[in-house]
Subunit: 192 residues, 2 copies
DNA sequence: AATAATATAGACAGACCTGTCTCTTCCTTT
DNA sequence: AAAGGAAGAGACAGGTCTGTCTATATTATT
């Protein structure tokens, strides 16, 4: 038997959708409460503050992204390089989805520019976590300068996320994955 | 004799600095008024609304950026390709400055996610203007797929701007310019 | 069936921000 | 020197948002 969704889970699901689609600042508590069909008091029993809900939203996105990397690893267990290449295609595919609205961490960081703000700090930390994982992939692939390559991919991917969000109609996923592979290849050639 | 700065110019200068450094939403009218040493009534005589001031700020940034491209053109009048390559180095140099806080257009777009909001629309338009100019440069350089290349550079540069803003300490400008040149080169090789 | 615990609905306080308005001061022009 | 116009200082209204609190309804337990 399916376990029924708890109030807390429902709130988080609604918040995740609204925060991601319309932005954290643009979506008020009242809206989340209304759309998740819960009373204000009940909301504040699950999450002490809005920021706490934002932290839960960011954590959800972090775990989701780590899941994507895990997926790429399982898809090509034989070759680390293939894992990295597959991840690029996979990211490209995700970015072309109609519901794609950019990187939740970058968006949150820009929405809360003050580095000491908990939302900013949490988003920054989550972004770093993810990037450590990609760097590890580049290291395992035995590429000569994994950190430099990882940094270049981070730039390219961060920008692709922004373009796919901001200039949705112009975004061509294959241009991203081709560019990513060009950068990866340039490091392989350099090794020889 | 030096013409004295008008109140309107002073307000815009202060706004430009604060909006860019701390974000548009984070900086209130009262703060700008206070720091530019002007009265509220005087402020509203120069700019009817805050959004009008934001539009002036974005316009200033647009003109400034077009000036950078113009600078690259004048630096290498003989070769369009050199202009493009020089621009990459020039952008990298700008992004490593301590005052660099990312792309004002991207930041503003993320701060005002609603596409119909005047600030969002103006920032989007300014960003397109700039990018048309870079695409033109790629076309003039005689590269085989100028639009595709321009799009890849846009991704890379947009991401570099975000990384240079968000992860300032990690940002290495030469990794950006090398990556940009790798992408440009990949199109030249493809042409042969 | 009665009582205890929990959820709902929504009023309300407090903070913050934009834009208007008033009052006073200062500067310029005649 | 006097008068008129512009600028400064800041109160105030109206809006929005978060988080608290009260009163009513519903569910669960014994």
């Amino acid at each position: 038997m399916e376990k029924k969704e708890t109030a807390k889970e429902r709130i988080l699901r609604v918040a995740d959708e609204l925060f991601y689609r319309e932005g954290v600042r643009a979506v008020g508590i009242d809206r989340i409460i209304h759309e998740s069909g819960v009373a204000k008091a009940s909301f504040y029993r699950s999450f002490a503050t809005k920021d706490e809900l934002v932290a839960a939203y960011l954590e959800l996105r972090r775990l989701q992204f780590l899941g994507n990397i895990e997926h790429a690893r399982k898809e090509h267990p034989e070759s680390k390089l293939e894992q990295l290449l597959f991840l690029m295609d996979y990211l490209a595919e995700r970015m072309k989805r109609p519901t794609y609205r950019g990187c939740s961490f970058m968006n949150t960081i820009v929405e809360f520019p003050e580095p000491t703000h908990p939302n900013h700090a949490k988003a920054l930390e989550s972004r770093s976590d993810i990037w450590d994982e990609v760097t590890l992939l580049a290291e395992e692939a035995g590429l000569p300068n994994p950190r430099d390559l990882s940094e270049q991919i981070r730039m390219l991917w961060s920008g692709a996320a922004m373009v796919a969000y901001i200039n949705k109609d112009d975004f061509k996923p294959e241009l991203f994955s081709v560019a990513a592979k060009t950068l990866i290849n340039s490091h392989r050639v350099a090794a020889v």
